[in-house]
């Protein structure tokens, strides 16, 4: 299987060449185009209960599509956001993804739900987070560019800018400053991450775009 992420960082999309035996699992609605020799099958992600939970509490769909081919073919996958896509190779490791970040993975990667904590829900990041683990490649994306940082001690990230993080990272939601500065600085809630581990950040926040659009609606 060959794969390349094109048009980074603004309009990233994944071009895959599948051979017989290759399988790709992708988020619902990720397929932009494909050769007619590619077969697509829809199934629940995890069991039906987990699928429903994802739908209800995360922003992921409860279904995933599985792509395979009897001969060979091309598959183009994308994301709803204009932004970057990152590809990571998991080697019996795992990664936590924010809701909406997951795009696709190889079959050796398991998708599970993790409890993100009540504070995350208050910060409007969702009650659940997606945990990807196992062996194989995982593709995730975000609105804006994606860059990573190795965190050793404590680091502060604006909540809407955190895309993914390794499980060794401890994540807490807190206020940026005191109550007054939190309200007026518009920095609001922030995520305090504590290492060691790697975190993935996005250069733009989708919530920020919505807030800007709302400010212009009247």
């Amino acid at each position: 299987m060959q794969h390349v992420v094109r048009n980074r960082p603004s309009f990233a999309n994944i071009h895959l060449q599948l051979q017989r035996g290759d399988r790709i699992i992708a988020e619902a609605d990720a397929m932009a185009s494909m050769s007619s020799t590619i077969d697509m099958r829809t199934r629940f992600s995890g069991g039906p209960v987990q699928g429903l939970l994802r739908r209800g509490f995360g922003s992921e769909s409860m279904f995933v599509n599985e792509f395979s081919t009897a001969s060979e073919g091309e598959l183009v996958l994308t994301q709803p956001f204009l932004g970057d896509i990152e590809c990571l190779e998991l080697e019996r490791t795992s990664l936590f993804l924010q809701p909406g970040a997951f795009i696709a993975c190889e079959p050796g990667v398991r998708l599970g739900l993790g409890w993100a904590g009540l504070r995350m829900a208050i910060a409007r990041e969702g009650l659940f987070r997606l945990r990807v683990s196992g062996r194989g490649k995982v593709w995730f994306g975000a609105y804006g560019g994606i860059f990573s940082r190795e965190v050793t001690d404590e680091y502060i990230v604006d909540t809407g800018h955190l895309v993914a993080y390794e499980p060794t990272i401890d994540v807490r939601i807190g206020m940026a400053g005191g109550l007054f500065s939190s309200i007026f600085s518009q920095e609001g809630l922030v995520t305090r991450v504590r290492g060691p581990g790697r975190i993935y950040l996005q250069s733009r926040s989708f919530g920020g775009l919505a807030a800007w659009a709302n400010a212009h609606l009247w």
Binding site: F11, E27, A28, D29, S36, Q79, L82, F206, N214
Partner: protein
């Protein structure tokens, strides 16, 4: 139009639009309202005039030269064309598929001249020789030498609908197909719920 030199004459003409999708009732309403496509004609009256045009959405802009054949262009992807190219806004090739709506309409561009297209996201070209499948929201333009059929994406209707892919277009034959990497309805579906109600 972004900017232009002062010595242009600008005229506006209309083309009747048909089959913009959105269901039978909406279609009827549009027909009664006589919805049309507005085209601006820029004619230079002096030499060395410059005209800058750009689309609304973030994405690519490309140029294609038509040499006698026709291209079917997604309505919001058509940016500009030379006056020798005929634009037919009543093309209804996808009309049979009830759900090909999403506010999409199609233009048949024919003749000899320059065609400028835009997209949401990046444009990639596929030289179709056989069969190729595209999610309908990702089609920018295609040669009308291609045959096409609106199909459900998966093996079953439920699978297609719930798998999020819904309807796709299956192209066959020989010709160029221009696709865009992103599609506005998917982006809008995420942004919409976060916007203030009117």
């Amino acid at each position: 139009m972004i900017a232009m030199s002062p010595d242009f004459t600008v005229e506006t003409t209309t083309r009747k639009k048909r089959g913009s999708g959105g269901g039978l009732l909406k279609g009827l309403k549009r027909m009664l309202a006589g919805e049309s496509l507005f085209l601006n004609h820029f004619t230079a009256t002096k030499p060395d005039q410059t005209l800058l045009v750009g689309p609304r959405l973030l994405g690519d802009v490309i140029h294609r030269r038509l040499q006698g054949g026709s291209m079917i262009v997604q309505g919001s992807s058509w940016l500009a064309s030379s006056t020798a190219i005929d634009i037919d806004a009543t093309w209804q090739g996808f009309g049979k598929a009830i759900f090909s709506g999403e506010g999409l309409f199609w233009l048949k561009c024919s003749g000899e001249g320059d065609l400028f297209l835009s997209s949401f996201g990046a444009i990639y070209e596929v030289e179709v020789d056989g069969d190729y499948v595209v999610d309908t929201g990702h089609i920018v333009a295609f040669d009308d030498t291609l045959q096409f059929a609106i199909r459900k994406a998966g093996a079953s209707w439920i699978g297609s609908f719930l798998g999020g892919e819904g309807l796709v277009c299956r192209f066959s034959g020989k010709g160029r197909l221009l696709c865009q990497s992103h599609n506005p309805p998917s982006f809008g579906a995420l942004l919409g719920p976060k916007l203030k109600p009117r």
